[in-house]
Symmetry: C2
Subunit: 239 residues, 2 copies
DNA sequence: CGGCAATTTGAAGGCAGTCAATTAAAGTGG
DNA sequence: CCACTTTAATTGACTGCCTTCAAATTGCCG
């Protein structure tokens, strides 16, 4: 069992629920909640299932399936995507360690799949919702999380209207930023996943990265390892 | 003051808050709520402002502006969009009468603008959130509404990865369906808005509609009035 | 009827896609 | 540890869809 390289130090952010519990506790700004941090932890643990391990490309939740669970990524990368009859595919989002997702109703017809080998935690949806009804801190947290994801998705739909260079530059700088601006960026997912996420072919993705390298903006250390030499120049391509 | 043609009968769905109040009441499935329907109505009315009228292309809320309000469309169509330095524009979503929106945090940098002459109701964001903390029915409603919008936005980002014919066919059939499948479809917004929403130019949009007309799938009655003759064929173009 | 705005149509060019071949990297077994 | 196989990524040549720029047409409103 080989765990693929993942998002550096952030990979171990959420080995359990403690990150979420603290986030809920921190986001509580409203009166009326009647549970302390320990209570939240115990309540969440009670409706937790897993974490469960999935190999790359395994389907975690099928499209159209009854959406009984909310997911938390413990390690690795998860993709939310749709495969069409002609074999092409669109990737809506990637989820990294610590991300809570799976709010889309069942009708949304998106498939949740492992983009790398991953560990995923399951939370019973109905139980979580009824918990949110009793403790407004959890409700606020869920709303804030969903709003954040809505914002990201809006940005992504805007990105899809741009040219290839802008899309790739945005993806690389976003990823680099999320990783804490390390010296070198390890792409945790396949180029095919990135291309489907950006609405491009792997050939165009590859050629675009090559053009960035020829401009001196970045350097390839290997297929999946890049060094961003001039991030400022890359950012100028965005918009 | 000329009110432009809008979404037929649905234009008068929400002249006030009654639609939302009922939706909140209906979506209540959790214990712990301590307000009846009349209480909700009064609470919402208290933090309501407007409705206010905006002419087409007027900015309702500027990008980056402190997001103090949540919006409800009373009549007309609102667009959520971003204008780039080079003058191009991307439209993330259209909001129709009855839609509640404006959840995106301030940082999201989207501009809320009138796509037609519109009437918009304002709700104080903080007051609504604290109300949601006290009454879980309102919290659930807000979460459900945000989730619904997230799903729509995901579908839209997928759409942007498709070819022009699929995008236009999807837009037309979706609109036709939302309008209750009437005999003829009145496009309430300009072609430029639709093109920016679909990530196309107005020329490509026009040419695509022309090709649909030549295939006998639809017929133009005027620039903004279409008759979908073979909706099934149009749907086949969607993937 | 006249003038402006919106849409349609036409012709030419560019960016990204497709198909095919090569190279690099990772996994496998001797 | 190295040869072999398989998978992933790069590169090249060509095609096609969509854009761009320009002109004509339609529709709206005074």
């Amino acid at each position: 069992m080989t765990i693929r390289p993942d998002f550096g130090t952030s990979a171990v952010i959420a080995p359990d629920l403690s990150g979420i519990v603290q986030a809920i506790h921190a986001s509580a700004r409203c009166a009326g909640s009647f549970a302390d941090e320990e209570t939240i932890r115990r309540a969440l643990s009670a409706l937790q299932r897993g974490p469960i391990h999935f190999h790359r490309d395994k389907v975690i939740a099928c499209e159209g399936e009854a959406a009984d669970y909310i997911f938390v990524v413990v390690s690795g990368v998860v993709r939310s995507c749709k495969t069409y009859q002609n074999g092409s595919r669109g990737v809506v989002a990637f989820y990294l360690p610590g991300d809570l997702f799976g709010w889309d109703d069942a009708k949304c017809s998106l498939s949740i799949e492992a983009a790398t080998d991953v560990m995923v935690l399951f939370l019973k949806r109905r139980a979580l919702l009824s918990l949110a009804a009793r403790d407004s801190r959890i409700g606020s947290y869920l709303l804030a999380q969903t709003t954040k994801e809505l914002g990201r998705t809006q940005q992504h739909s805007l990105l899809m209207g741009q040219c290839a260079k802008s899309r790739v530059a945005t993806f690389l700088t976003d990823l680099w930023t999320r990783l804490g601006k390390p010296a070198s960026v390890d792409l945790p997912m396949l180029h095919q996943d990135i291309a489907d996420y950006l609405g491009l072919t792997i050939e165009t993705l590859s050629r675009t990265i090559t053009s960035f390298e020829q401009s001196g903006m970045l350097k390839r250390q290997s297929y999946r390892k890049l060094v961003l030499r001039k991030p400022a120049l890359l950012s100028q391509l965005i918009d």
